[in-house]
Amino acid sequence: MECQECHQNPATVHFAQVINGEKSEIHVCQQCAKDKGYVSQEEDAYSLHNLLSGLFNTGSNTMQQQSLRKQEETLQCDKCGMTYQQFARLGKFGCASCYHTFADHLNPLFRKVHSGNTLHEGKVPKRAGSNIYQRKKLRDLKVKLQQAIADEAFEDAAQIRDQIKSVEKSLHREEEGEDS
C-alpha cells in the first residue's frame, strides 16, 4: 500500500480518524505522518489535536452535550491553571489534577484513544494506599473465583475464597483504622 499523501513511499503508519463524526482510515508513510501532524516526533501515533476537535464537533445537540460544551468554555484546573480549551488545543494535561477537573469530558476521548476503554486495569502502586491495592486484588480474586467455579476446579475455588476472606478482613480493618 502506498502513502496516500506523497504516493511515493510505502504506507507504514495506519490508523482511523474521526472528524465531525466521520470515520476515515489513514495510510501514510512515516515522513508524511510527521509532516501532516498525524504523529508527534517520537511515538504518539494519534494527532490528539485532530482527535479532540473531531470529538467535540459531532454536530449533535442534545441538552446534555450542550451543557457539557458550555462547561468546557469555563473549565479550569485550579492546581495548574490549565483551561479545558488549552487542553483541547495541546492534547496534553497540565498536571494530575486536570484528570479530575476535566473528568466529565474525558471518557469519549479515552474511548477513542484506547479502543473503548476508560478504566485502568493494570499495576497499582503499593504506596498509593494499600487500600487501592487490596481492592484491586479483591476484584482480581473474584474474577479468578468465578473462573475456577466455571472450570469446576472446586479445590482451587475454596482456596481462592479463603484468600478473598482474608483480603476482605484486612481491607475492613484498614477502613476502620482510617475512620478513627
Binding site: M1, C3, C6, N9, P10, A11, T12, V13, H14, F15, H27, C29, Q30, Q31, C32, Q41, E42, E43, D44, A45, Y46, L48, K79, C80, G81, M82, L90, G91, K92, F93, G94, C95, A96, Y99, H100, L106, L109, F110, V113, H114, S115, G116, N117, T118, L119, H120, E121, G122, K123, V124, P125, K126, R127, A128, I132, R135
Partner: protein
Amino acid sequence: MSLEQFMNEAISPWLKDDGPDSDIVMSSRVRLARNFEDTPFPLIAEEEQMDNILSFFKNEFNHQSYNQYKDFEFVRMADLNSTEKQVLVEKHLISPHLADKSKYGASLISKNEQVSIMVNEEDHIRAQLYFPGFQLEKALQEAFELDDWLETKINYAFDENRGYLTSCPTNVGTGLRASVMMHLPALALTRKINRMLPAINQLGLVVRGIYGEGSEAIGNIFQISNQITLGRSEEDIIEDLKGVVEKLIEHERHARTILLDQSSLELEDRVFRSYGILQHSRIIESKETAKCLSDVRLGIDLGFINNISKSILNELVVLTQPAFLQQYAKKMLTPNERDVFRASLIRERFTMEQKEEY
C-alpha cells in the same frame, strides 16, 4: 583512538549478546511513564519545580544500584554538547525530545546501558529497559522491579480509575509502551508486510519503519509497539504484542524458506553484492548502508556468509549514524564527508573482523 577501542565504548554492552529469536527480533524494550503526584507535568511546570525534580533524582539515585543494575549515572542534558546528546539518541538511551530539553532534562543510565530513566521528558519519569532478542516478558518483569525500586522513594500520580496519570492521554493507565525491533527482509522483499500491517493495526498495535532520516523502513527494520495503555493489564498488553510478534516471526521464516527455494541464486547474489559494497565502497550514504547491512544480516541468517559475526552488523547500525561518525572523527563532518568517513569506517571494521579470523 583505535576503532576497536571506540567500538567498545560506543556499543551498549547488552547489545553484544544474542537473545532468543535474534535472527529476526533485534531487541525488546519496555518503557513506563510515571509522574510525581504534586508537581505539574514538565510541559507547564515552573523552572523551580523541574529543578527540584532534578536535584531529587541526583541526590536519591545517582551512583545507586538495584538488583543486577549497578551504578546508575546521572547525566544532565545541560552538561552535554550537541554531539554527545545525539550519540545518546542514536544509542536509544534518550529520546530526541529529551535531548532538546537541555535545561532541565536528565537521564539516569545504568552502567551496562540496559536501563535508562529519563527525567523531565514529556513526563517526569520515563523508565526504559532493553533486552537483546525477543524477551518481552522478562523486560516487563524487570520493568516492574525497577518501578517498585523508584516507588520506594516517589509518590506517583495515580488514580484508582485512570491508573498512572501521564501528560498525554495516549499513555494514561499503565503508562506502558512495549516494543520490539524486528528485521523482516523477506516479508519486505515479497511485499507481504504491506498486507499484514493493517491487520496488526486493528489489534491496537502500531508498526513503524525505523531509523534514518527518510520515511520508509530503512534496512527492513520495523518497530512494533502497543498503542493502547488503558483498560488492559500490562500482562495482557505484552501478551497481545507477543502473539503478533510470534506470528510475524513465523511468516518471516516462511517467506525466507520460500525465497530460498524459489530464487536462491538471486538471493545469494543480492547478499554478496551488498557484502561487496560494504567491504569496498569509498563513499556510502546511510540509506544504502542500511540496505546492505540488511542484506548481509539476512545472508548470515541463511548461512550464505559464515566468516563474520552478526554482532558486527548491530555495531555498524549504530556506528554509521551521523553523531557517531562525528564522535569518532572528532570533528563536525559535512554530509559528503560523512559518506566518505562512513565507507572507511565500515571497511576498517570488516578488515578487523578478518584479522581476528587468523
